[in-house]
């Protein structure tokens, strides 16, 4: 009964959306803002990757919000799981196999390096703070799988999270002080396609990379604590 009503409801919505989509033709340029960003992104922000110049340049405020959302979720998860107090059944877990252990230890520095590369070069190649942070967090997960030790200290992760978030807000406030607009660019733009270009964008991405890495690592830590 419930399935039937759900299907009917979804069919009605599908018909409505179908009609609406006739006005959104596939594959044609629909916007002037997109064209503007492509044309002027390089001069106005200095980043070769236009998506980065949109995410961290033109729409940097959204990125600040996004970082905050992740912060909220990590905090919320910590608060919800904290009351549990780890009272779960502590089963004996067998140690990881030799391949996993060795592989984890060997891959960990490479993954961290790779993640760092991704967020440092966000303005030159596809990537950026979020992607890099996620790779670093998966490096931490690998260690959890391999050696079963908890390597992320609570203090370290809280301090990193808070300081990188503050750094992002401070960069914005400095921009406000310099040119009366929050998050405006106050560093020189350099030459295109080099590492030290694009003004504040690499700095923001570094802060974001650290923050996301610490947060996702913290989420993994909280979840893993439940199973011990």
């Amino acid at each position: 009964m419930r399935t039937l009503t759900s299907l009917i409801l979804l069919a009605v919505i599908a018909v409505g959306i179908g009609f609406a989509l006739t006005e959104v033709p596939f594959g044609t340029p629909k916007t002037e803002v997109g064209g503007y960003y492509l044309e002027h992104g390089r001069e106005e922000t200095g980043a070769a990757n236009t998506v980065t110049s949109v995410v961290v340049g033109y729409r940097a405020f959204d990125t600040l919000g996004e970082v905050t959302v992740l912060f909220v979720a990590a905090l919320g998860l910590g608060a919800v799981l904290a009351a549990a107090g780890g009272a779960g059944a502590r089963r004996e877990v067998e140690p990881a196999s030799l391949v996993l252990r060795t592989g984890a230890i060997l891959l960990f520095p490479l993954l961290v390096l790779f993640g760092t590369y991704i967020f440092l070069h966000g303005h030159l190649t596809p990537g950026g703070g979020f992607q890099g942070g996620a790779v670093i967090a998966s490096a931490c997960l690998l260690i959890y799988l391999g050696s079963r030790e908890r390597i992320i200290s609570r203090v370290g992760r809280t301090v990193t999270e808070s300081l990188s978030g503050l750094a992002f807000v401070l960069i914005g406030l400095i921009g406000l002080a310099f040119s009366a607009q929050f998050l405006s660019d106050f560093l020189p733009k350099g030459t295109l396609n080099t590492l030290f270009s694009a003004g504040v964008i690499p700095l923001i991405y570094v802060a974001v990379g650290f923050k996301v890495g610490a947060e996702l690592g913290g989420v993994i830590d909280d979840m893993v604590k439940e199973t011990r």
């Binding site: 409505g16 959306i17 009609f19 609406a20 989509l21 006739t22 006005e23 959104v24 629909k30 916007t31 002037e32 803002v33 997109g34 503007y36 960003y37 106005e44 340049g57 033109y58 729409r59 940097a60 405020f61 959204d62 600040l64 919000g65 996004e66 905050t68 959302v69 912060f71 909220v72 979720a73 905090l75 919320g76 998860l77 910590g78 608060a79 919800v80 904290a82 009351a83 549990a84 203090v155 809280t158 301090v159 999270e161 808070s162 300081l163 978030g165 503050l166 807000v169 401070l170 914005g172 406030l173 921009g175 406000l176 040119s179 009366a180 607009q181 929050f182 998050l183 405006s184 660019d185």
Partner: protein, 489 residues
């Protein structure tokens, strides 16, 4: 001139600092939300006179509109931001002592972020930015509803989360469609171009957006999550959710319908929906025996009333709706905060266990009674001028259907009176089983509660002080051509 972006940047920065303070001292961390909220109250009120003259438009990032994200600090936005901050401040002071279990530092950080999310929603001029701040608001409320970790709270939070996540997804779908149809994400830009879009696609995308926002705004039939969530959360969170979160959701719906889409055909449907919401809310409230669930259903009824008023679209009706919003926020905050300590003292959430509280907790009961009378709409409290304005505006429409709807609303008011008087009767005229020992709530609770009670009384005696700000705020909402001109020039 103070840059309105500070209303968002400073509390956000403070929120990032709270965990650091928390590592040093939990006590220190628990004062930060109050400081952040106080900052916002001061700045918002300071900016209000300027914004009434000419709305303040801030282009973030140093780029010009419509290629950057725009903050639109108009009279409506700043008024709501001030309200959010005021309620946030009062509840934060109360929470310093009331919240004493669980991960306290995380509670306070999440609380500040909830306020940031709400402030961002009312100040933004870009629909995707609206989505991002809306998510900040929603996700922090999912986490805070589950804060106590008891069975009820977890269940309520899970159901709230699922419904909210689906709603947010529909909202994003609508935003994507709007971008495909108009090519811009700036609210003023969309308002300019939406006229050129054929009506079916525009209506479909508006419908998706309204449904998505409507989950948080608790419009019938999307409000199934509300009674559980508002009754199982800690009382401070019930207060901020009923007092701020659903109102901000309703603001977002109104902003989309009026300013961005200019969808005047949809308004009649929304009027009906509002009245339906009122009926559902008030009837269900009457049947409750749990005080917090009763208050939660009452919130649903009030949101329906505000939706009804705003959808009538005349300037008096919108101003009346906004006044009702303010008076509901103030009253609901007092009601939930008062009930917080009453439940603590009596040990149960049942209305019957509140018998005799008039002797046991006289000041708290007085505050409850004042707020209840204001909500029902009795003079000389703030609820009277607001309801009066709404009824007068509806009658002025001069069509039979509106008179019928007003009659329904008045019947609902009578029902409201019934269940609130029942509680007040319990408080004052029934003897409790236990000895009536005076065991009042601590002053950290009474002072914030009475600050708001004083405001309820002041606004009741001098409604014109409020109406003077409400009229520009109402035209901010309704006149899209002015909005477009302010942003795009």
């Amino acid at each position: 001139m103070v840059n309105p972006v500070l209303l968002l940047a400073v509390p956000l920065g403070l929120a990032f600092c709270v965990p650091l303070f928390g590592m040093a001292s939990r006590r220190a961390a628990s004062f930060v939300p109050a400081i952040a909220a106080l900052f916002n109250v001061v700045v918002a009120i300071r900016l209000l006179p300027e914004a009434i003259e000419e709305p303040i438009v801030v282009c973030l990032g140093g780029f010009s509109a419509p290629f950057s994200i725009v903050l639109f600090a108009g009279p409506l936005g700043l008024l709501l931001a001030a309200l959010v901050a005021l309620a946030g401040f009062v509840i934060a002071i109360y929470a310093v002592r009331y919240i004493d279990t669980g991960a306290i530092t995380k509670y306070h950080t999440l609380y500040v972020l909830l306020l940031v999310g709400a402030t961002g929603v009312v100040l933004t001029g870009d629909i995707f930015n609206l989505f991002v701040f809306f998510e900040i608001l929603c996700i922090s409320s999912y986490a805070l509803v589950a804060y106590l970790g008891d069975r009820g709270g977890l269940e309520a939070s899970a159901k709230y989360l699922i419904q909210g996540a689906v709603g947010s997804g529909l909202l994003l779908l609508g935003i994507g469609m709007v971008y495909g149809l108009t090519g811009t994400l700036n609210m003023a830009g969309i308002a300019e171009r939406i006229g050129a879009v054929p009506s079916v696609p525009a209506l479909v995308s508006l419908a998706l957006i309204v449904v998505g926002l409507g989950v948080e705004a608790a419009i019938f039939p999307l409000n199934a999550w509300l009674p559980d969530a508002h009754s199982s959360a800690p009382s401070t969170i019930s207060a901020i959710l009923s007092g701020i979160a659903i109102e901000v959701g309703l603001y977002a719906v109104a902003r989309m319908v009026f300013t961005v889409f200019g969808a005047t055909d949809m308004l009649f449907f929304l009027v009906f929906l509002g009245v339906l919401t009122v009926l559902v809310g008030e009837l269900c409230a009457l049947a409750q025996s749990n005080i917090k669930r009763m208050l939660a259903y009452s919130s649903i009824g009030q949101i329906g009333l505000i939706l009804f008023a705003v959808s009538l679209a005349s300037s008096e009706a919108v101003a009346g709706g906004l006044f009702q919003l303010i008076s509901h926020t103030l009253s609901k905050v007092v009601l939930f905060l008062a009930v917080g300590y009453m439940i603590l003292r009596s040990g149960s959430k049942e209305i019957s266990s509140l018998e005799g509280m008039g002797q046991q907790m006289p000041l708290t009961s007085l505050a409850f009674a004042v707020a209840a009378f204001s909500l029902v709409g009795l003079p000389p409290f703030a609820g009277f001028p607001s309801k009066f304005m709404i009824v007068r505006a509806a009658v002025a429409e001069q069509e039979v259907i509106f008179l019928v709807l007003v009659a329904v609303v008045l019947v609902a008011t009578v029902i409201e009176g019934a269940y609130f008087f029942r509680v007040v009767q319990s408080l004052y005229f029934k003897r409790g089983e236990k000895q009536a020992v005076r065991q009042e709530a601590p002053s950290s609770a009474l002072i914030p509660i009475f600050v708001v009670v004083v405001l309820i009384i002041v606004f009741g005696f001098y409604p014109d002080a409020v109406v003077r700000v409400l009229e520009p705020a109402a035209s901010d909402l309704v006149r899209s051509t002015d909005y477009i001109r302010s942003v795009l020039g």
